[in-house]
Symmetry: none
Subunit: 192 residues, 4 copies
DNA sequence: CATGAATGAGAGTTCATTCAT
DNA sequence: GATGAATGAACTCTCATTCAT
């Protein structure tokens, strides 16, 4: 009995995810250029040829991973979109971020790598990714203003930089980074 | 009449710098793997072959750049080594860092890239670079303690993460980053 | 439908032989260093890239050829291994050697070349090859002793040198070398 | 006081020899292609550039070495040219050959190498070298005839092959080869 | 649908040779 | 004359991509 279209579609989706997650891991561990298609195919348990029925090129694979990761990110942080951030929501937001940090470490590593080498990723995609985050900044600025920070527009950047730096160091020094203590410090300064 | 040894030495030093600075720029802009020896040679105005009279390999070139950059960094921050940081010294230190940030943006970009792709840099070198910075942390911790921070050991990490994040964002968004305002904020929180 | 594993295996074996025999000819004719991978690939009718699915390196290709040739050699001379050489067997041995001489001239040429440039071949392989021939010497020594030669241990070396010299000259002067007459002389002196 | 022309000529000759003998050693040890001009220059204690005022190319250097070696060889064996070889002369000839064997081992190794890779040496030179040896064969044939060998024309080839084989093995297995005993065997069979 | 043998452009590297000094 | 910095052609090897099966 041949498979139904839906079954086929499911298999395909499963395989896509499987390939993307293998690729994500290897891109993160070895870098985009050093991770070869052969490596990824083997790691994902499929043939090289099959990869090309799912992705047009190695770059396409990278883009697909980045977009999927960003979408997931946005979903996770899909706060009640009333444009206002309460302290409880902010605490939840920070907790989520720190929680996801290590779970998604491959993604974050890849994200930073790619950010640092803008030539490997076309500008269109980059702007697309950016546009997703922008709205958060507006909400965040209001939040910081309501918390009594002067220059909330600058504080947004400061806060964002802080989180980036924490993220980067936590990922790179996974074993030594005092992630929980740092989180408490962030909460203390921005929530309580 | 052949050139004297000193003449040759001078030519060689000049060429080394010339090649290294071309390579630094291209490594930073395009990434280590995407920047080819041919690119670098052309950018430096020398032949591919000549590169190998100065560096044993592409990796050797990278290492040479990183080490030279680090040494320069350490020299620039060679505070009076009495193991104590005054507020004036701290202000000077922060000012220097922000000043050098953009001047050395290629170096920093490369530094972050390399940090994220540990496979391109052998562990020995990495540890060597690390060992150079370590002493600063101890001094910094004492400083933070004297400034009344509880948990100074955690605050060191927090501070370092903050600076990393600022550095990263400033480099990547050179044109938009409110670098001076951010600097003032850092000074306000850690010096005044 | 993809090829079965067996089909693939057959294709691969064929290609291996095809590449090795092209390489053998060019290594022999031009020398290991002068025969380029591009030459060999073209001569074998395959792409440069494909060579590296079959052999890890140019050196690996050389080693593979030498080992395969030696194995064949040993098979061809697999006398009844009772440790004794009769005159009939000796005659057969000499006839076989002279017969194979020209058929395998590329192999012999390569073998001598390689022997003369010990740096292209690692010692491990060389010893391995040598160990295959050693047993013959012991048998040969007994034979020579039984034929009334004084100092059979020296005569073995003398005989071996003689054959090497004949081999070398026959290969190099294929068109002029009186190979049959020389063979008769050898038989006359060592068999009859 | 500037050097006289003769002094200059002497220096030049000395340097030529010095370069040639360095090159000979390295060609023999590493092979023609693997021994680099830089290696040879360093080994000879001169600059690369200077090499090219003595020799037009690496090949020219090789040819020069081969021709010089051959000339020396011929001088050494410049028997009384009456076209007849006495047994005493033959004994002397064999003794000389075995004596020179190890003294000139680099030369012989190179000679065999080159013989086996005819493409590195142009045919003109090769024929030239050959023409020098030819006369010896005629004399040798007569000698063998007078000693009662049937088919002296074949015996010449046999004898020459034998010597080649001994030479080859003695050079390659310097430490183990029973050179003196082999020599006695040759003398016993061809002189006494 | 699925495979992996096959391709070929292009990477890093070497080295005989040249030439300004 | 003498040097060695500089060149560039040619090498070995890699790998994203294609396509016959």
């Amino acid at each position: 009995m041949p498979r139904t279209k839906q079954q086929n579609e499911k298999i395909k989706q499963g395989r896509r995810v499987q390939i993307e997650s293998s690729a994500l891991e290897l891109f993160a561990k070895r870098g985009f250029h050093s991770a070869t298609i052969a490596d990824i195919a083997e790691h994902a348990g499929v043939s090289k040829g099959l990869m090309y029925s799912y992705f047009n090129s190695k770059e396409d694979l990278l883009h697909s991973i980045l977009v999927r990761g960003f979408k997931k990110l946005v979903e996770d942080f899909d706060l009640n979109h009333d444009g206002v951030l309460t302290t409880d929501e902010m605490r939840f937001y920070i907790n989520s971020l720190f929680k996801g940090m290590m779970e998604e470490k491959y993604y974050w590593k890849l994200y930073f790598s790619v950010t640092l080498q803008p030539e490997v990723i076309d500008k269109v995609l980059f702007d697309e990714l950016l546009s997703i985050v922008k709205p958060f900044f507006a909400v965040l600025e209001k939040y910081l203003e309501s918390r009594g920070f002067e220059q909330p527009n600058i504080e947004v950047v400061y806060f964002h930089s802080l989180l980036d730096g924490i993220l980067l160091n936590a990922i790179m020094n996974e074993d030594f980074y005092p992630i929980d203590e740092i989180k408490e410090l962030v909460i203390k300064r921005y929530v309580k």
